[in-house]
């Protein structure tokens, strides 16, 4: 049980880190999209 709890925590950390990266990428793409839209307007 102790080992499975540790594995869960590691998996949770990994997914959290991935979420953080995805959020940053989404922010970058949104900024570019907004700039492009602004130029087209």
């Amino acid at each position: 049980k102790e080992e499975s709890a540790n594995e869960l925590r590691e998996e949770l950390n990994r997914v959290n880190s991935e979420n953080k990266k995805l959020t940053e990428m989404l922010a970058t793409v949104w900024e570019n999209y907004y700039a492009l839209h602004h130029h087209l307007e």
Binding site: K1, E2, S4, A5, L8, R9, E11, L12, V15, N16, E18, N19, L22, T23, M25, L26, V29, W30, N32, Y33, A35, L36, H37, H39, L40
Partner: protein, 305 residues
């Protein structure tokens, strides 16, 4: 003794550890469940973020493609407008297009730059047209040189024979070059070999030299309407067509050049007035005239005596 012995077998301990073990198991299971729940929540969030990112990238690519098509269309339209007079793309337009693609400059700014470029080219053409003037000089038929005494000093830098004229064409540039960029082409007229045709390109940026050999000059020019090669006269000209000037000081007959024929008495009178005005302004001519008159008077006095 049996009671004691039997009683000694009875477990008298409180067994306090049983409840603690059960609580520890419950706590572990609760933590595990919380971890699992948290993990599920984060995974769901991860999936949602991935979907949003995919959607955002798709939208961005679509928008970028639209912008590229829009820029290409505007470039094609500009090229259609500009291509007839100019086949080669100009670097100015290239810069405008590339900046529109890379920096996202709007189409209107690119059009403005191309318009400015066209206007600039038209202005340059106009300036070039204004600076060209043609002057006809009457010379002695026996004179085979292509020297035209127009008051400025020139350096000959070339001569060539053209297809349309048996007489060679001489090329001169102003003696003040490179500070003064005026050039001159001199060639005998096809119609009348005694007429020299001088074509001037540009305007002198300096006054006419004071030392002019005017006494023994075979030919002189008088500006008539169009631009003369002198700076002052050239500045006053605003005509786009090539000005034509005819001079005949060696003979009284008219110059037979078809482009320079002067038949009207008013024009002849004006020409004579301008010639007289030009000659009287020349101090060398005035001195020579005074000397000639004085010499004639002296001769008359000698003969009278």
């Amino acid at each position: 003794m049996d009671q004691y012995s039997s009683s000694s077998l009875v477990d008298t301990s409180l067994d306090l550890t049983i409840g603690v073990t059960r609580m520890r198991v419950d706590e572990d299971s609760t933590n595990t469940n919380a971890l699992v729940d948290e993990l599920n929540r984060v995974r769901a969030e991860n999936k949602k973020l991935s979907e949003m990112l995919t959607l955002m990238c798709d939208n961005y690519n679509v928008l970028r493609k639209q912008l590229m098509e829009y820029v290409n269309k505007s470039n094609m339209a500009e090229r259609d407008q500009i291509s007839p007079p100019k086949k080669r793309k100009s670097p100015v337009r290239d810069d405008a297009i590339s900046s529109a693609v890379i920096g996202g400059v709007s189409e209107s700014s690119s059009t403005d730059q191309s318009d400015q470029y066209l206007c600039k080219k038209q202005r340059e053409k106009t300036v070039v047209k204004e600076k060209v003037s043609r002057v006809y000089y009457k010379t002695e038929a026996s004179d085979t040189t292509l020297v035209v005494k127009d008051g400025y000093q020139w350096r000959k830098y070339g001569q060539k024979v053209t297809r349309d004229n048996p007489s060679p064409r001489a090329y001169f540039k102003c003696a003040c070059a490179p500070s003064c960029s005026v050039k001159k082409k001199v060639q005998r007229s096809v119609e009348d070999q005694s007429v020299l045709v001088a074509t001037y390109e540009g305007e002198h940026n300096h006054p006419m030299p004071s030392q002019i050999d005017s006494n023994n000059g075979l030919n002189r020019y008088v500006p008539l309407g169009g631009a003369a090669p002198s700076a002052a006269a050239a500045n006053s000209s605003s005509s786009l067509a090539e000005p034509v000037t005819t001079v005949d000081l060696t003979e009284s007959k008219k110059v037979m050049s078809p482009t320079s024929r002067i038949d009207f008495p008013e024009v002849q009178k004006l020409l004579v007035e301008q010639m007289a005005s030009s000659l009287t302004k020349d101090p060398n001519f005035t001195a020579a005239l005074a000397a000639a008159v004085t010499g004639r008077l002296y001769q008359q006095n000698q003969t009278d005596k």
